[in-house]
């Protein structure tokens, strides 16, 4: 970079533009063959629907389309913000993901630290292979297993000698959701930390041992610093996604009886939008959800980068 600029006087804007144009012309393959397919798909399937959020402000009907339907302004937003149902779904969404984050986030880190202590690679590999397995089980199968294990005639009730129908209890829903999530994802999530730890400097660790550091000190002064950056990035990504908690699992664990705890914003949007056909209102709810999500991401990124000496995402 330096070589290019130091000899010449300041380039004019026009010169810069022709330089860029020359690059594009010379490297047309990069644009037309490499980039274009992905760009087209992104514009069609991601950006067109973003324009479609206009129907959150319209009395949408199919015949007049997104651009022709009558304008209703912020009616839908007023409607759901004053609705107690909406508030409880919002709270459900927040509780589910915040508790999920608080319980689920540290476990992969602890797992990785423990795995890192196993010196025999054979055993370590076998354990890793086993704890990754649940990641390859589908959401539907996981939820099916949960439903069977917790059914009144299922093994958990058989062991406890009772016949509680857990899936109908709103108070049990969050625990079921979060615990099964940890069962499925914690092992796989540890992979990143394990990989980073195995790349961490062994010299540093050995020096610490020679200096008489005990296990906890080794973890605190050598191992955690080695994975700090990954922890930070993971935390930002996950905390920023608090509002976009997945539809698929919540929907597959819902029963009519546990809805008071299990109805979250995405399943609510599906119910009123696609099942009841109230497009405008449900799009407004979805838009609200996305906007909060983006704000959260920005805030979390800002806070973490302040705490982490300027290193954010």
């Amino acid at each position: 970079m330096k070589v290019k600029t130091c000899g010449k006087p300041q380039q004019s804007t026009a010169e810069k533009l022709t330089g860029k144009w020359k690059y594009v012309k010379k490297n047309w393959q990069l644009y037309l063959i490499f980039l274009l397919p992905a760009l087209l798909l992104t514009i069609i399937f991601k950006y067109f629907p973003m324009g479609g959020v206009l129907i959150a402000f319209e009395d949408y009907n199919v015949i007049e389309g997104v651009l022709g339907s009558p304008w209703v302004g912020l009616d839908y937003f007023r409607r759901f913000l004053s609705s107690p149902d909406f508030m409880s779904y919002l709270l459900n969404t927040l509780k589910l993901s915040i508790y999920g984050l608080l319980w689920g986030f540290p476990i992969p880190i602890i797992l990785a630290l423990l795995l890192n202590r196993i010196r025999r690679t054979g055993i370590k590999k076998k354990i890793q292979l086993l704890i990754y397995a649940p990641n390859f089980i589908s959401v539907i199968v996981l939820c099916g297993m949960v439903r069977m294990f917790l059914s009144p005639v299922g093994p958990i009730n058989q062991v406890l000698g009772i016949d509680t129908n857990w899936m109908t209890m709103p108070s049990a829903f969050r625990t079921i959701y979060i615990a099964s999530g940890i069962w499925q994802a914690a092992g796989w999530a540890s992979i990143m930390y394990t990989a980073a730890l195995s790349n961490a400097s062994k010299d540093l660790e050995e020096a610490a041992i020679v200096d008489g550091a005990n296990v906890l000190q080794q973890i605190w002064y050598v191992e955690l610093p080695a994975i700090k950056n990954i922890i930070v990035i993971q935390f930002i990504l996950q905390a920023g996604n608090i509002m976009s908690i997945g539809f698929e699992k919540a929907y597959a664990l819902q029963t009519d009886m546990n809805l008071p705890a299990s109805e979250i914003l995405s399943t609510y949007v599906y119910r009123i939008g696609l099942l009841n056909g109230d497009y405008g209102y449900s799009t407004a709810v979805g838009l609200f959800n996305s906007v909060i999500n983006v704000i959260l991401l920005i805030v979390v990124n800002f806070v973490v980068s302040k705490l982490n000496e300027g290193e954010g995402l």
Partner: protein, 298 residues
């Protein structure tokens, strides 16, 4: 490996390590027990399973559930559909993503920042369920495979992984091939792709598993029973509690039917999960290298 210095452990360290290994052991058990239970339960006699759970008397074991599941057409059709969707999606998605990541990996690529923003925005903001549904409808893609293959084909996260991986390959590769007169396309396919096998393997695995295990798009876009992937067949059996009629048609009493239906769920889970569980260990050697790329800042 063996030149590691000998470690003398204090009492406190021993206690901590013992507690740690116990914790790890418990976690391993918690993962293994449900998996093993499902497998054993799938071989049980329906009455035994219903009354006392699993048993280790082999006279109570039967492969009857597997016969019923494997004789069912819906399961097989679901398998065939899912295999086709996942393979097609993996091909399209990985190919397009690998291509797009290439110019984005070049520091001097004009417009790099702009295109990067275009892609990254879609990671955090989208039109949402309903506008996407309306679009797919207007494009007349409902009840076609394109509705589930195309909208998610550009995976920005994978794009970042691929881009970061390219950047870790030596820059001299392109300089050398340019001297030989290779175009970017020739360079990409003949020189770059062969050294990118680990990342291709990881992206392919992610895409395949993601498509194989998802059900939402298929649920809203594929109403035709002929087109339904395995997960939707599973959903009606496992979640909506409606066994495929053909599976239990020969049973007379309703009570008996309910017991067999419960048993069938276990066998269905084993049959449907086995392919991926057999497949992923072959990818294990790629996990570390592929995943590490992902942890580097994008």
């Amino acid at each position: 490996m063996e030149n590691r210095i000998k470690i003398k452990l204090g009492t406190a360290d021993k206690v901590i390590l013992a507690a740690g290994y116990t914790l790890l052991g418990l976690f391993v058990l918690a993962i293994a027990v449900p998996l093993v239970y499902v497998v054993i339960a799938s071989f049980m006699d329906p009455n035994v399973l219903n009354n006392q759970g699993i048993s280790f008397h082999f006279k109570d074991w039967t492969a009857d559930a597997y016969r019923r599941v494997l004789e069912n057409d819906m399961i097989w059709r679901g398998f065939a559909n899912s295999l086709f969707y996942s393979a097609a999606f993996t091909l399209i998605s990985v190919f397009i993503t690998l291509l797009a990541a290439y110019p984005m990996s070049k520091k001097e690529f004009v417009g790099r920042k702009f295109f990067n923003i275009i892609f990254v925005i879609t990671m955090f903001f989208n039109g949402g369920m309903i506008p996407t549904f309306i679009l797919i409808n207007q494009l007349h893609m409902v009840n076609t495979i394109w509705a589930i293959l195309l909208p998610g084909a550009v995976n920005v996260w994978n794009l970042i992984l691929a881009r970061t991986y390219y950047q870790s390959t030596p820059k001299e590769l392109r300089e050398a091939s340019a001297i030989d007169g290779a175009t970017e396309v020739q360079h990409f396919f003949k020189i770059l792709m062969p050294v990118c096998k680990p990342i291709i393997a990881v992206l392919a695995l992610y895409s395949f598993v993601g498509m194989w295990n998802s059900y939402f798009d298929a649920m809203i876009y594929l109403n035709d029973a002929e087109l339904q992937p395995l997960q939707l067949v599973l959903r009606s059996i496992l979640v909506q509690n409606t066994p495929q009629p053909g599976m239990i048609a020969d049973i007379q009493s309703t009570a008996e039917m309910a017991k067999v239906a419960e048993l069938l769920k276990y066998a269905t889970i084993v049959v449907s999960s086995l392919p991926l569980l057999i497949m992923y260990p072959f990818f294990q050697k790629y996990f570390d290298s592929g995943i590490m790329v992902g942890s580097v800042k994008g």
